[in-house]
Amino acid sequence: MAVNLIDRRLNPSGKSLPNRQRFIRLAKAAIKDAVARSIRERALGDVESKEVVSIPMKRIAEPRLRHSSQGGDRDQVLPGNKEFVRGDTLPKSKSGEGGKGSKGSPDGEGEDEFRFTISAEEYLNALFEELELPDLAKAQLKDTAVVRYHRAGHSASGSPTNLNLVRTLRHSLARRICLGRPKAADLAALDEEIADLEALEDRGMAFEAQLAEIEARRRALRGKAQRVAYIDPVDLRYNRFEAVPQPSAQAVMFCLMDVSGSMTEDMKDLAKRFFLLLHLFLSRQYQHVDVVFIRHTSEAKEVDEETFFNSRETGGTVVSTALAEMRRVIEDRYPVDEWNIYAAQASDGDNYSSDSQTCLQLLTEEILPICQYFAYVEVYDPRQEEIFLSSLNVSELWKDYASVAPARPNFAMKRVFSKSDVFPVLHQLFAKTRKAA
């Protein structure tokens, strides 16, 4: 009876994946709640990590007909008696003693929530489930400068580097057989025969005739071998490649932020959350996402992430400088036909009034035509919420941008007051059923 030792480690794991998917489908509502809550509560850098979801037991209970842990008469045998003798009594109120403690609460009602972890992937799926990129399809068709070559059969003409040797020789062989090109071995055999005959001492008439006949045959064969080429141009076959236009799989995201003194830490924090979510969202749609950070006061500068979010600077506010800087970066590094361009601008809405005109002009004439999407978020200090909630009380910049918005489907603007607004705003901007807002 020999053992049958089997190594199963290389078998695909995740056998229970369908079970998990079913469970998650059941728990979906709870997951959505958890995701929405976590967006409000999570630390900034933590969006990619796993999420613990608690589900109220009731939804996923598996009830059984079982005895209650209370009521009725029951006997129990327990180990580890220390001082009891027969007839001792113990008060019932102290249920921790007497071995009754560890049974759990009656009916399992104390078991309030079922906790489990969903992976980052599942988390993001739930997060972005109802979002989509605006007008992606149209933009893709329009800008198809990038092509990728795919194998597409064979052709009779092409560059020598693409020569397909196997096919070429197969054709050559077929042709040689058809046209009866003599084989090298046949010629060699004749040569040998002639050599043998010539080596003979005793030559007679019959011998000469035989030699002449063989030589004639050899001449005929040689002639044929010369007329029928070993490889003829008609044999040649090349691997053919076809150019398939590729939708650009890369995107660049411009984060524009006003860092002038009027932006408080809280407001920057809100802006950062918005940028972070947008970045996550884009990363799921594109193979490669570049992020460009441009901050501006009265002049704009491209900076790295650290500086963008953390360093302070004072100065006035000229929004158009940021737009100009963005245009410059695009011209420098991001050809429009290769990159999908997204921009998100966060500001408290302050702007020099004389800048309005430049700003609008830059936006409508230069930026918007080449952008897939331009989102403007105006952030407010939570304390200002009451003042600015009404639509009458709007900033200069908001007023200017609002005049652009209706005509431009790829332009959207929203106001954010608190952390809990950030995700809903992103949701509204990218919702699948988005009207041209």
Binding site: M1, V3, N4, L5, D7, R8, R9, N11, S13, G14, K15, S16, P18, N19, R20, R22, F23, I24, R25, V52, A61, E62, P63, R64, L65, R66, H67, S68, S69, G71, G72, D73, R74, D75, Q76, V77, L78, P79, G80, N81, K82, F84, R86, G87, D88, T89, L90, P91, K92, G98, G99, K100, S102, P106, D107, G108, F114, R115, F116, T117
Partner: protein
């Protein structure tokens, strides 16, 4: 040259094979165990988690509850709250044991001795498993179940299948036949019986009987009624799943088949629920013997023995009742202690043991006595038969009485002369499925009338059901039955203690919400 089977903790297929052979030599050659052929499969921890969620079976149908189990186990494991089992063993022929790649070589040896020989021998020889499970057919059956359920999902939708499976899972504990079916008489026996009846009739013939007036029972209408009753349910019926499968007025054929699948699987696992202490005790005792024997033969090193002992003692640790770690009896501990005790009684008995267990005390053949116990008992009968006064004193067992009417607990018996019998009886009944599982039977189903289904819970010592669960399950039953359902709890005095009723209109939804 060293005769060690392995030198380091790293295992290779070569050392596994050699160790297995050495273990087999001891287990089969020296101890006379009789296991199924073995199939040992190495898996990763991730696969172990997968296996957990499908109750350890290599093939299983899909259901969200397994996903839930997986989610919970995974979370516990990732956070380090709980480790994974070293092994899983399946009662099948050949017997499949999963062992984890993370185990050290010593642990692999321990696990092979434990699962591939201990559990395996128990599966093959215990009467419950022999009677109620089909080890060679289970994998084929699970394969069928999986593809059948997948087919149903394709055809009727996951939701429709889940609705039936949810309900069936809720009734799994009530979906088993507690007693093995009586063997069908063979044709020869049938003929012999018919002849005997004939002979009896002619022998005891007395013309006087003819003159008696016909009684109501076997009057003229009897034959027709008997024919009508042939298709009617035999009540009471304790297997609720069986009853619903056969007699539910509104289930479709595929739904009945789903109930049948769940019922068969419940039946397959039923013996394991009744033999936890024995099964683990047997496997633990076997691995303990084998590992020590390997050491005595010089085949494992001192270090390996120490490593083995560390994990062995952790497994058989039994906290006292007042220990915060206490959560009932550890079946490994109780089982192992009892097996060791039987060995002691067989080889080195005291006077007390001779009085208590005269048939095995001092017989010298510990293995013979153990093999007999493993084959012919289940947990409750095993404890009732073999729990010796010596062991009761060693574990300091005592019986605690909890009467609903009184506001204090009472120590009814302890490990002394007066208490042995009582403690033993109480512990045995703790493992008896009779009082342990609620006794719920179908007692009425007016199939010809309003089709109201009546269930009766014969309460044991007036212990009620967990109310919320019971109501939810009642919802599932009403859903499967399609008409009104009533559950009554009846005490020993035939008084109704409680009663739940439920109509059939979307009951599950109404109750669960």
């Amino acid at each position: 040259m060293s005769s060690l089977l392995f030198e380091t903790g790293e295992w290779t297929f070569d050392t596994l094979k050699r160790t297995y052979d050495a273990i087999q030599e001891i287990a089969v050659g020296e101890m006379g165990l009789d296991p199924y052929p073995n199939q040992v499969e190495l898996i990763s921890s991730e696969q172990m988690l997968d296996a957990y969620s499908s109750i350890g079976m290599p093939i299983f149908y899909h259901h969200w509850s397994f996903g839930k189990r997986f989610a919970r186990d995974e979370a516990m494991y990732r956070k380090g709250y709980s480790g994974l089992a070293y092994e899983i063993v399946i009662n099948s022929n050949p017997c499949i044991s999963y062992i984890m790649e993370e185990n050290t070589m010593t642990m692999q040896a321990l696990v092979m001795a434990h699962a591939a020989f201990g559990h395996n021998h128990f599966f093959k020889n215990n009467y419950l498993f022999k009677e109620q499970t089909d080890a060679s057919g289970i994998l084929d059956y699970l394969n069928f179940a999986k593809s059948y359920i997948a087919h149903c999902e394709e055809r009727h939708g996951i939701g429709a299948v889940e609705r039936v499976l949810d309900a069936a899972h809720a009734l799994m504990d009530q979906g088993v036949n507690r007693y093995g079916r009586r063997a069908r008489p063979s044709l020869v026996e049938e003929q012999a019986r018919a002849e005997a009846r004939q002979t009896h009739a002619s022998d005891s013939y007395n013309d006087l009987w003819r003159t008696l007036p016909p009684t109501g029972r076997d009057g003229a209408k009897a034959p027709g009624q008997a024919a009508a009753r042939r298709g009617a349910p035999q009540l009471p019926e304790e297997n609720l799943l069986y009853f619903l499968e056969k007699f539910s007025p509104q289930l479709r054929d595929w739904e009945r088949e789903l109930l049948r699948i769940v019922r068969n699987i419940a039946q397959y696992f039923f013996p394991q629920r009744q033999t936890k202490v024995m099964n683990e005790g047997c496997a633990t005792w076997v691995h303990y013997k084998i590992m020590n024997r390997l050491y005595d033969l010089g085949k494992i090193s001192d270090g390996a023995l120490l490593e083995f002992l560390t994990s062995h003692t952790a497994v058989v640790f039994q906290p006292d009742f007042d220990d915060p770690r206490f959560s009932g009896f550890n079946p490994y501990a109780l089982g192992f202690e009892m097996m060791c005790d039987i060995e002691r009684i067989a080889t080195d008995p005291t006077e007390e043991d001779r009085q208590y267990l005269p048939e095995i005390a001092g017989c010298g053949d510990a293995l013979g006595a153990l093999r007999n116990a493993w084959a012919n008992y289940r947990d409750d009968s095993f404890i009732a038969q073999y729990l010796s006064p010596h062991l009761m004193r060693k574990m300091k067992l005592f019986k605690l009485e909890d009467r609903a009417a009184e506001n204090h607990y009472k120590i009814a018996a302890i490990h002394d002369e007066r208490g042995y019998t009582e403690v033993r009886r109480a512990l045995a009944s703790q493992y008896d499925p009779g009082p342990r599982d609620p006794n719920i039977q179908v007692t009425g189903a007016d199939l010809a009338g309003d089709r109201r289904l009546q269930l009766t819970h014969r309460m044991h010592n007036d212990v009620p059901l967990a109310e919320n669960d019971a109501k939810a399950v009642l919802g599932y039953i009403a859903d499967l039955w399609g008409f009104e359902v009533e559950l009554r709890g009846v005490g020993a005095d035939d008084e109704v203690r409680y009663s739940y009723e439920l109509g059939s209109s979307h009951p599950a939804a109404a109750l669960v919400a």
